[in-house]
Protein backbone atom coordinates (compact mmCIF):
# COMPACT_ATOMS: atom_id res chain seq x y z
CA UNK A 1 0.00 0.00 0.00
CA UNK A 2 1.36 3.38 -0.94
CA UNK A 3 1.98 6.12 1.61
CA UNK A 4 -0.91 8.21 0.26
CA UNK A 5 -3.34 5.26 0.52
CA UNK A 6 -2.15 4.58 4.04
CA UNK A 7 -2.76 8.21 4.98
CA UNK A 8 -6.19 8.20 3.36
CA UNK A 9 -7.13 4.99 5.19
CA UNK A 10 -5.98 6.43 8.49
CA UNK A 11 -7.95 9.64 7.99
CA UNK A 12 -11.05 7.68 6.91
CA UNK A 13 -10.80 5.47 10.00
CA UNK A 14 -10.51 8.49 12.28
CA UNK A 15 -13.45 10.24 10.55
CA UNK A 16 -15.58 7.09 10.83
CA UNK A 17 -14.71 6.67 14.49
CA UNK A 18 -15.50 10.30 15.29
CA UNK A 19 -18.79 10.03 13.35
CA UNK A 20 -19.88 6.95 15.26
CA UNK A 21 -19.07 8.53 18.63
CA UNK A 22 -20.74 11.82 17.63
CA UNK A 23 -23.81 9.91 16.35
CA UNK A 24 -24.18 8.05 19.62
CA UNK A 25 -23.73 11.31 21.53
CA UNK A 26 -26.32 13.21 19.49
CA UNK A 27 -28.80 10.32 19.73
CA UNK A 28 -28.45 10.14 23.51
CA UNK A 29 -28.71 13.92 23.81
CA UNK A 30 -31.79 13.97 21.64
CA UNK A 31 -33.39 11.17 23.70
CA UNK A 32 -32.81 13.10 26.92
CA UNK A 33 -34.13 16.41 25.61
CA UNK A 34 -37.07 17.90 27.36
CA UNK A 35 -39.96 17.74 24.85
CA UNK A 36 -41.71 20.81 26.27
CA UNK A 37 -40.84 24.43 25.64
CA UNK A 38 -39.45 26.35 28.60
CA UNK A 39 -41.86 28.37 30.70
CA UNK A 40 -40.41 31.35 32.54
CA UNK A 41 -42.01 33.05 35.52
CA UNK A 42 -43.31 36.55 34.78
CA UNK A 43 -42.16 39.49 36.85
CA UNK A 44 -44.82 40.98 39.11
CA UNK A 45 -44.83 44.61 40.26
CA UNK A 46 -43.84 45.34 43.81
CA UNK A 47 -41.64 43.70 46.41
CA UNK A 48 -42.24 41.76 49.59
CA UNK A 49 -40.38 41.77 52.92
CA UNK A 50 -39.78 38.42 54.56
CA UNK A 51 -37.66 37.99 57.69
CA UNK A 52 -36.12 41.42 57.20
CA UNK A 53 -35.17 40.88 53.57
CA UNK A 54 -36.81 42.39 50.53
CA UNK A 55 -37.58 40.19 47.57
CA UNK A 56 -38.76 40.93 44.04
CA UNK A 57 -41.89 39.11 42.97
CA UNK A 58 -42.71 36.81 40.08
CA UNK A 59 -45.52 34.42 39.18
CA UNK A 60 -46.01 31.29 37.12
CA UNK A 61 -49.02 29.12 36.30
CA UNK A 62 -48.98 25.38 35.61
CA UNK A 63 -51.60 22.75 34.97
CA UNK A 64 -51.70 19.02 35.57
CA UNK A 65 -54.04 16.93 33.45
CA UNK A 66 -55.12 13.31 32.95
CA UNK A 67 -54.12 13.76 29.29
CA UNK A 68 -53.84 16.21 26.38
CA UNK A 69 -57.64 16.29 25.82
CA UNK A 70 -58.28 17.66 29.31
CA UNK A 71 -55.46 20.17 28.88
CA UNK A 72 -57.15 21.53 25.79
CA UNK A 73 -60.66 21.37 27.26
CA UNK A 74 -59.99 23.08 30.58
CA UNK A 75 -57.08 25.42 29.95
CA UNK A 76 -56.79 25.61 26.16
CA UNK A 77 -53.30 24.12 26.41
CA UNK A 78 -52.10 22.22 23.35
CA UNK A 79 -49.92 19.29 24.34
CA UNK A 80 -48.43 17.25 21.55
CA UNK A 81 -47.34 14.27 23.55
CA UNK A 82 -48.58 10.81 24.51
CA UNK A 83 -51.97 10.41 26.10
CA UNK A 84 -50.54 10.13 29.58
CA UNK A 85 -51.03 12.14 32.71
CA UNK A 86 -48.83 15.22 32.54
CA UNK A 87 -48.02 18.72 33.64
CA UNK A 88 -48.47 21.54 31.12
CA UNK A 89 -44.72 22.16 30.92
CA UNK A 90 -41.66 20.48 32.27
CA UNK A 91 -38.82 23.00 32.02
CA UNK A 92 -39.45 25.91 34.35
CA UNK A 93 -37.25 29.00 34.53
CA UNK A 94 -37.32 31.12 37.70
CA UNK A 95 -35.44 34.24 38.72
CA UNK A 96 -33.05 33.73 41.63
CA UNK A 97 -33.54 35.28 45.07
CA UNK A 98 -37.18 36.04 44.24
CA UNK A 99 -40.58 35.48 45.80
CA UNK A 100 -42.27 33.34 43.15
CA UNK A 101 -45.97 32.54 43.36
CA UNK A 102 -47.05 29.31 41.69
CA UNK A 103 -50.61 28.66 40.61
CA UNK A 104 -51.33 25.05 39.72
CA UNK A 105 -54.63 23.96 38.23
CA UNK A 106 -55.07 20.25 38.88
CA UNK A 107 -57.67 18.20 37.02
CA UNK A 108 -56.69 14.65 37.83
CA UNK A 109 -57.85 12.07 40.33
CA UNK A 110 -55.53 10.10 42.57
CA UNK A 111 -54.99 6.86 44.41
CA UNK A 112 -52.33 6.57 47.06
CA UNK A 113 -48.81 7.62 47.94
CA UNK A 114 -45.98 5.17 48.47
CA UNK A 115 -44.53 7.42 51.16
CA UNK A 116 -46.84 9.63 53.18
CA UNK A 117 -44.04 12.12 53.78
CA UNK A 118 -45.14 13.70 50.53
CA UNK A 119 -48.62 14.57 51.79
CA UNK A 120 -46.92 17.36 53.77
CA UNK A 121 -46.17 20.84 52.45
CA UNK A 122 -42.44 21.57 52.72
CA UNK A 123 -40.36 24.55 51.65
CA UNK A 124 -43.09 27.03 50.67
CA UNK A 125 -43.43 30.41 52.35
CA UNK A 126 -45.19 29.62 55.65
CA UNK A 127 -45.11 25.91 54.76
CA UNK A 128 -48.67 26.19 53.45
CA UNK A 129 -50.50 25.90 50.15
CA UNK A 130 -53.78 27.59 49.37
CA UNK A 131 -56.27 24.97 48.14
CA UNK A 132 -59.28 26.59 46.48
CA UNK A 133 -59.00 29.51 48.91
CA UNK A 134 -58.08 27.58 52.06
CA UNK A 135 -54.55 27.44 53.49
CA UNK A 136 -53.41 23.95 54.48
CA UNK A 137 -50.07 22.47 55.50
CA UNK A 138 -50.87 19.00 54.17
CA UNK A 139 -53.37 16.97 52.19
CA UNK A 140 -55.03 14.09 54.07
CA UNK A 141 -53.54 10.74 53.12
CA UNK A 142 -54.59 7.81 55.29
CA UNK A 143 -53.33 4.67 53.61
CA UNK A 144 -55.33 2.44 55.98
CA UNK A 145 -58.69 3.73 54.76
CA UNK A 146 -60.30 3.23 51.34
CA UNK A 147 -60.13 6.51 49.42
CA UNK A 148 -58.35 7.95 52.45
CA UNK A 149 -55.62 9.58 50.41
CA UNK A 150 -56.67 12.85 48.80
CA UNK A 151 -53.40 13.52 46.99
CA UNK A 152 -53.63 14.04 43.23
CA UNK A 153 -49.95 14.44 42.39
CA UNK A 154 -47.05 16.22 44.03
CA UNK A 155 -44.88 19.01 42.77
CA UNK A 156 -41.54 18.28 44.38
CA UNK A 157 -38.42 20.35 43.67
CA UNK A 158 -34.98 19.15 44.69
CA UNK A 159 -31.47 19.25 43.39
CA UNK A 160 -27.82 18.70 43.92
CA UNK A 161 -26.21 20.73 46.64
CA UNK A 162 -22.91 21.71 45.05
CA UNK A 163 -20.24 24.32 45.63
CA UNK A 164 -22.04 26.67 43.26
CA UNK A 165 -25.66 26.13 44.27
CA UNK A 166 -27.58 25.76 47.48
CA UNK A 167 -29.67 22.78 48.37
CA UNK A 168 -33.38 23.46 47.71
CA UNK A 169 -36.34 21.27 48.59
CA UNK A 170 -40.00 22.03 48.03
CA UNK A 171 -42.85 19.55 48.28
CA UNK A 172 -46.40 20.49 47.38
CA UNK A 173 -49.09 17.78 47.48
CA UNK A 174 -51.92 18.59 45.07
CA UNK A 175 -55.53 17.90 46.00
CA UNK A 176 -57.17 15.25 43.87
CA UNK A 177 -60.45 15.63 41.99
CA UNK A 178 -62.88 13.07 43.33
CA UNK A 179 -64.11 10.43 40.92
CA UNK A 180 -67.24 8.32 40.75
CA UNK A 181 -68.50 5.74 38.27
CA UNK A 182 -69.15 8.50 35.75
CA UNK A 183 -65.69 9.98 35.96
CA UNK A 184 -64.49 13.14 37.68
CA UNK A 185 -66.91 14.88 39.98
CA UNK A 186 -66.97 18.65 39.37
CA UNK A 187 -65.52 20.60 42.27
CA UNK A 188 -67.70 22.88 44.38
CA UNK A 189 -66.98 26.01 42.43
CA UNK A 190 -66.46 24.97 38.87
CA UNK A 191 -66.73 28.52 37.64
CA UNK A 192 -63.76 29.86 39.55
CA UNK A 193 -61.77 26.68 39.79
CA UNK A 194 -62.63 25.20 36.43
CA UNK A 195 -63.42 21.54 36.82
CA UNK A 196 -60.46 20.89 39.07
CA UNK A 197 -58.71 22.46 42.01
CA UNK A 198 -56.65 25.62 42.04
CA UNK A 199 -53.65 25.58 44.31
CA UNK A 200 -51.35 28.51 44.97
CA UNK A 201 -48.18 28.78 46.99
CA UNK A 202 -45.06 30.91 47.08
CA UNK A 203 -41.41 30.00 47.34
CA UNK A 204 -38.19 31.94 47.81
CA UNK A 205 -35.81 30.88 45.08
CA UNK A 206 -32.16 30.24 46.06
CA UNK A 207 -29.93 33.31 45.85
CA UNK A 208 -27.18 31.26 44.24
CA UNK A 209 -29.32 30.19 41.31
CA UNK A 210 -28.68 26.74 39.91
CA UNK A 211 -30.10 23.75 38.07
CA UNK A 212 -32.75 21.76 39.94
CA UNK A 213 -35.31 19.14 39.02
CA UNK A 214 -38.95 18.68 39.92
CA UNK A 215 -40.97 15.50 39.83
CA UNK A 216 -44.17 13.92 41.06
CA UNK A 217 -43.91 11.58 44.03
CA UNK A 218 -47.29 10.02 43.34
CA UNK A 219 -46.94 6.73 41.42
CA UNK A 220 -49.01 7.76 38.42
CA UNK A 221 -47.42 5.94 35.51
CA UNK A 222 -48.70 2.75 33.96
CA UNK A 223 -48.51 -0.64 35.65
CA UNK A 224 -44.88 -1.16 34.75
CA UNK A 225 -42.47 -1.02 37.70
CA UNK A 226 -45.22 -0.51 40.30
CA UNK A 227 -46.89 2.38 38.42
CA UNK A 228 -43.57 3.99 37.66
CA UNK A 229 -43.66 3.30 33.93
CA UNK A 230 -44.88 5.52 31.08
CA UNK A 231 -45.35 9.11 32.33
CA UNK A 232 -43.16 8.46 35.37
CA UNK A 233 -40.21 7.18 33.39
CA UNK A 234 -40.23 9.52 30.39
CA UNK A 235 -38.92 13.04 30.17
CA UNK A 236 -41.45 15.85 30.08
CA UNK A 237 -44.54 14.37 31.73
CA UNK A 238 -44.32 14.14 35.50
CA UNK A 239 -40.81 15.48 35.90
CA UNK A 240 -38.62 18.22 34.55
CA UNK A 241 -35.99 20.83 35.21
CA UNK A 242 -36.09 24.01 37.22
CA UNK A 243 -33.52 26.54 36.10
CA UNK A 244 -32.97 29.30 38.65
CA UNK A 245 -31.00 32.14 37.12
Amino acid sequence: MSASKRSASAILAVVLGVSVVAGVGFTLRSASQDPSPKLAASAVDGTIDINGKTYKKAAITLGVYPGPAEALKYDGVHINKNDWVQYSVSHIVLPKNTYVTFTIHGYDGGETLNNTYFDKVVGTVGNVVNYDGVDQSSVPCDLAVDNGCKVQHTFTIHGLPTRSQKSWFVNVPLLKVEEDDNGFVPTTNAETHNAGHTMTFSVLTPDTGGEYVWNCQFPCGDGTYGKFGAAMSAYGYMSGKVTVA
Partner: protein, 266 residues
Amino acid sequence: MSEHEQFDKVEPTPGERFSKFLKRKDVSSTVAWAFFYTLVFVLVALYLYPRWMPKGLSNEMRSTTRLMVIFTIISAPVCGFVLSMATHSFLRRHKGDTPPADGPGFSANRLGVATFSVMASILTLTAVIYGLVEMNTAAEASVREAKDAMVVKVVGNQWVWTFEYPESMGGFKSEVLNLPLNKAVVFDIVSADVNHSFWPVQLGVKVDANRLAHTTVTTKPIKLGEIDVKCAELCGLYHAYMETTGAVMTTDDFNKWVITQGGHTA
Protein backbone atom coordinates in the same frame (compact mmCIF):
# COMPACT_ATOMS: atom_id res chain seq x y z
CA MET B 1 42.53 -28.40 28.66
CA SER B 2 44.45 -26.76 31.51
CA GLU B 3 43.40 -26.91 35.15
CA HIS B 4 42.83 -23.15 35.03
CA GLU B 5 40.44 -23.46 32.08
CA GLN B 6 38.47 -26.16 33.90
CA PHE B 7 38.06 -23.80 36.91
CA ASP B 8 36.70 -21.05 34.63
CA LYS B 9 33.90 -23.34 33.43
CA VAL B 10 32.38 -23.85 36.90
CA GLU B 11 28.68 -22.88 36.83
CA PRO B 12 27.95 -19.51 38.54
CA THR B 13 25.90 -19.58 41.72
CA PRO B 14 22.26 -18.32 41.63
CA GLY B 15 23.39 -15.20 43.49
CA GLU B 16 26.07 -14.49 40.89
CA ARG B 17 23.57 -15.08 38.10
CA PHE B 18 21.07 -12.72 39.74
CA SER B 19 23.75 -10.07 40.28
CA LYS B 20 24.83 -10.34 36.67
CA PHE B 21 21.17 -10.21 35.56
CA LEU B 22 20.62 -6.98 37.48
CA LYS B 23 23.65 -5.38 35.92
CA ARG B 24 22.23 -5.74 32.43
CA LYS B 25 21.37 -2.29 31.11
CA ASP B 26 17.76 -3.16 30.16
CA VAL B 27 17.16 -4.86 33.52
CA SER B 28 18.68 -2.06 35.60
CA SER B 29 16.65 0.60 33.77
CA THR B 30 13.45 -1.45 34.20
CA VAL B 31 14.15 -1.89 37.91
CA ALA B 32 14.79 1.84 38.22
CA TRP B 33 11.45 2.60 36.54
CA ALA B 34 9.74 0.07 38.82
CA PHE B 35 11.14 1.80 41.91
CA PHE B 36 10.08 5.17 40.52
CA TYR B 37 6.48 4.10 39.82
CA THR B 38 6.21 2.29 43.13
CA LEU B 39 7.38 5.39 44.96
CA VAL B 40 4.88 7.55 43.08
CA PHE B 41 1.98 5.26 44.04
CA VAL B 42 3.11 5.08 47.65
CA LEU B 43 3.33 8.87 47.86
CA VAL B 44 -0.08 9.24 46.19
CA ALA B 45 -1.55 6.78 48.69
CA LEU B 46 0.04 8.43 51.72
CA TYR B 47 -0.42 12.10 50.88
CA LEU B 48 -3.13 12.50 48.24
CA TYR B 49 -5.69 9.79 49.04
CA PRO B 50 -6.44 11.18 52.50
CA ARG B 51 -7.10 14.57 50.84
CA TRP B 52 -9.16 13.14 47.98
CA MET B 53 -11.32 10.91 50.13
CA PRO B 54 -14.38 12.45 51.83
CA LYS B 55 -13.96 13.64 55.38
CA GLY B 56 -14.31 10.69 57.77
CA LEU B 57 -17.12 11.35 60.24
CA SER B 58 -17.25 7.76 61.48
CA ASN B 59 -14.89 4.88 62.14
CA GLU B 60 -16.31 3.14 59.06
CA MET B 61 -15.25 6.02 56.79
CA ARG B 62 -11.85 6.25 58.44
CA SER B 63 -11.44 2.51 58.01
CA THR B 64 -12.37 2.83 54.32
CA THR B 65 -9.79 5.57 53.80
CA ARG B 66 -7.16 3.52 55.62
CA LEU B 67 -7.99 0.50 53.46
CA MET B 68 -7.60 2.56 50.29
CA VAL B 69 -4.19 3.78 51.44
CA ILE B 70 -2.90 0.40 52.54
CA PHE B 71 -4.25 -1.50 49.53
CA THR B 72 -2.66 1.04 47.22
CA ILE B 73 0.69 0.70 48.99
CA ILE B 74 0.43 -3.10 48.83
CA SER B 75 -0.38 -3.08 45.13
CA ALA B 76 2.16 -0.36 44.26
CA PRO B 77 5.13 -2.73 43.62
CA VAL B 78 3.12 -4.93 41.23
CA CYS B 79 1.70 -1.93 39.41
CA GLY B 80 5.15 -0.31 39.37
CA PHE B 81 6.71 -3.43 37.87
CA VAL B 82 4.06 -3.76 35.14
CA LEU B 83 4.30 -0.07 34.26
CA SER B 84 8.10 -0.24 34.19
CA MET B 85 7.92 -3.08 31.64
CA ALA B 86 5.51 -1.03 29.57
CA THR B 87 7.79 2.00 29.81
CA HIS B 88 10.84 -0.02 28.82
CA SER B 89 8.98 -1.48 25.84
CA PHE B 90 7.82 1.96 24.78
CA LEU B 91 11.25 3.56 25.08
CA ARG B 92 12.95 0.69 23.25
CA ARG B 93 10.30 0.40 20.57
CA HIS B 94 11.38 -0.06 16.99
CA LYS B 95 11.70 3.11 14.95
CA GLY B 96 11.76 3.26 11.18
CA ASP B 97 10.02 1.50 8.32
CA THR B 98 11.79 -1.83 8.10
CA PRO B 99 11.01 -4.10 11.04
CA PRO B 100 13.98 -6.13 12.32
CA ALA B 101 14.08 -9.86 11.98
CA ASP B 102 12.53 -11.87 14.79
CA GLY B 103 14.87 -12.36 17.70
CA PRO B 104 15.74 -15.76 19.14
CA GLY B 105 13.05 -17.54 21.12
CA PHE B 106 13.44 -17.42 24.86
CA SER B 107 12.16 -19.50 27.70
CA ALA B 108 10.81 -18.22 30.97
CA ASN B 109 13.30 -17.10 33.56
CA ARG B 110 12.41 -19.47 36.37
CA LEU B 111 13.97 -17.31 39.06
CA GLY B 112 12.15 -14.21 37.76
CA VAL B 113 8.80 -15.98 37.48
CA ALA B 114 9.18 -17.53 40.93
CA THR B 115 10.18 -14.21 42.50
CA PHE B 116 7.27 -12.35 40.90
CA SER B 117 4.76 -15.06 41.82
CA VAL B 118 5.91 -15.33 45.42
CA MET B 119 6.03 -11.56 45.94
CA ALA B 120 2.62 -11.02 44.32
CA SER B 121 1.13 -13.84 46.42
CA ILE B 122 2.56 -12.42 49.64
CA LEU B 123 1.22 -8.96 48.80
CA THR B 124 -2.20 -10.35 47.88
CA LEU B 125 -2.41 -12.46 51.04
CA THR B 126 -1.42 -9.45 53.11
CA ALA B 127 -4.23 -7.45 51.49
CA VAL B 128 -6.77 -10.26 52.03
CA ILE B 129 -5.84 -10.78 55.67
CA TYR B 130 -5.78 -7.05 56.41
CA GLY B 131 -9.15 -6.60 54.66
CA LEU B 132 -10.73 -9.45 56.63
CA VAL B 133 -9.44 -8.06 59.91
CA GLU B 134 -10.80 -4.59 59.10
CA MET B 135 -14.15 -6.07 58.03
CA ASN B 136 -14.50 -8.17 61.16
CA THR B 137 -13.47 -5.29 63.39
CA ALA B 138 -16.13 -3.10 61.77
CA ALA B 139 -18.78 -5.87 62.03
CA GLU B 140 -17.97 -6.42 65.69
CA ALA B 141 -18.21 -2.68 66.39
CA SER B 142 -21.58 -2.55 64.57
CA VAL B 143 -23.04 -5.31 66.73
CA ARG B 144 -21.72 -3.64 69.88
CA GLU B 145 -22.98 -0.17 68.91
CA ALA B 146 -26.39 -1.35 67.66
CA LYS B 147 -27.47 -2.22 71.21
CA ASP B 148 -28.15 1.37 72.26
CA ALA B 149 -28.41 2.95 68.85
CA MET B 150 -30.99 5.38 67.52
CA VAL B 151 -32.98 3.79 64.70
CA VAL B 152 -33.61 6.04 61.68
CA LYS B 153 -35.89 4.66 59.00
CA VAL B 154 -34.62 5.56 55.53
CA VAL B 155 -37.01 5.47 52.58
CA GLY B 156 -35.76 5.79 49.01
CA ASN B 157 -38.23 7.20 46.48
CA GLN B 158 -37.66 8.20 42.89
CA TRP B 159 -35.78 10.57 43.44
CA VAL B 160 -35.80 11.79 47.01
CA TRP B 161 -34.59 10.32 50.31
CA THR B 162 -36.76 10.70 53.41
CA PHE B 163 -35.79 9.94 56.99
CA GLU B 164 -38.13 8.93 59.80
CA TYR B 165 -36.82 9.48 63.31
CA PRO B 166 -37.74 7.24 66.28
CA GLU B 167 -41.12 7.39 67.99
CA SER B 168 -39.29 8.39 71.18
CA MET B 169 -38.45 11.65 69.38
CA GLY B 170 -41.94 12.12 68.00
CA GLY B 171 -41.61 10.01 64.87
CA PHE B 172 -41.17 13.05 62.64
CA LYS B 173 -39.94 12.82 59.06
CA SER B 174 -37.38 14.91 57.23
CA GLU B 175 -35.72 15.10 53.85
CA VAL B 176 -32.35 15.92 55.43
CA LEU B 177 -30.25 13.57 57.54
CA ASN B 178 -29.09 15.19 60.77
CA LEU B 179 -27.46 13.07 63.46
CA PRO B 180 -26.11 13.71 66.96
CA LEU B 181 -22.42 13.34 67.66
CA ASN B 182 -21.20 10.17 69.39
CA LYS B 183 -24.57 8.44 69.21
CA ALA B 184 -24.71 5.18 67.27
CA VAL B 185 -27.39 5.00 64.62
CA VAL B 186 -29.01 2.04 62.88
CA PHE B 187 -30.37 2.87 59.44
CA ASP B 188 -33.44 0.77 58.63
CA ILE B 189 -33.55 1.09 54.87
CA VAL B 190 -36.33 0.36 52.39
CA SER B 191 -37.43 1.59 48.98
CA ALA B 192 -40.92 2.84 48.16
CA ASP B 193 -40.53 2.01 44.48
CA VAL B 194 -37.53 0.72 42.53
CA ASN B 195 -34.18 -0.35 43.94
CA HIS B 196 -31.93 2.39 45.29
CA SER B 197 -28.72 2.36 47.28
CA PHE B 198 -28.39 4.48 50.41
CA TRP B 199 -24.98 6.11 50.63
CA PRO B 200 -24.24 8.71 53.30
CA VAL B 201 -20.76 9.33 51.97
CA GLN B 202 -18.89 10.72 54.98
CA LEU B 203 -20.28 7.97 57.23
CA GLY B 204 -18.60 5.28 55.12
CA VAL B 205 -21.57 2.95 54.75
CA LYS B 206 -23.54 2.05 51.63
CA VAL B 207 -26.48 -0.36 51.55
CA ASP B 208 -29.11 -1.36 48.99
CA ALA B 209 -32.61 0.03 49.45
CA ASN B 210 -35.03 -2.59 48.19
CA ARG B 211 -38.77 -2.58 47.86
CA LEU B 212 -40.50 -4.81 50.49
CA ALA B 213 -37.21 -5.96 52.01
CA HIS B 214 -35.52 -4.00 54.77
CA THR B 215 -31.77 -3.73 55.03
CA THR B 216 -29.92 -2.30 58.01
CA VAL B 217 -26.53 -0.84 58.69
CA THR B 218 -25.00 0.64 61.83
CA THR B 219 -22.56 3.48 62.21
CA LYS B 220 -21.51 5.98 64.84
CA PRO B 221 -20.72 9.59 63.95
CA ILE B 222 -17.59 10.61 65.83
CA LYS B 223 -16.85 13.97 64.25
CA LEU B 224 -18.88 17.07 63.42
CA GLY B 225 -19.37 17.85 59.75
CA GLU B 226 -21.65 17.81 56.75
CA ILE B 227 -23.04 14.62 55.24
CA ASP B 228 -23.77 14.12 51.55
CA VAL B 229 -26.41 11.46 50.96
CA LYS B 230 -26.44 9.94 47.49
CA CYS B 231 -28.12 7.12 45.64
CA ALA B 232 -25.59 4.60 44.37
CA GLU B 233 -27.96 2.52 42.24
CA LEU B 234 -29.14 3.71 38.84
CA CYS B 235 -32.83 4.29 39.56
CA GLY B 236 -34.39 6.22 36.69
CA LEU B 237 -34.49 9.57 34.94
CA TYR B 238 -33.23 11.76 37.75
CA HIS B 239 -31.05 9.26 39.61
CA ALA B 240 -28.22 11.78 39.45
CA TYR B 241 -30.35 14.25 41.40
CA MET B 242 -31.22 11.80 44.16
CA GLU B 243 -29.06 13.53 46.69
CA THR B 244 -29.63 15.31 49.92
CA THR B 245 -27.56 16.75 52.71
CA GLY B 246 -27.33 16.51 56.44
CA ALA B 247 -24.91 17.00 59.28
CA VAL B 248 -23.39 15.47 62.36
CA MET B 249 -24.29 17.96 65.09
CA THR B 250 -23.62 18.46 68.76
CA THR B 251 -26.34 16.94 70.92
CA ASP B 252 -27.65 20.42 71.80
CA ASP B 253 -27.89 21.50 68.15
CA PHE B 254 -29.50 18.19 67.22
CA ASN B 255 -32.11 18.54 69.97
CA LYS B 256 -32.90 22.08 68.80
CA TRP B 257 -33.32 20.85 65.24
CA VAL B 258 -35.58 17.99 66.41
CA ILE B 259 -37.88 20.53 68.06
CA THR B 260 -38.03 22.67 64.90
CA GLN B 261 -39.19 19.55 63.06
CA GLY B 262 -42.09 19.04 65.45
CA GLY B 263 -40.38 16.31 67.46
CA HIS B 264 -39.16 16.19 71.02
CA THR B 265 -35.95 15.12 72.71
CA ALA B 266 -35.78 11.49 73.72
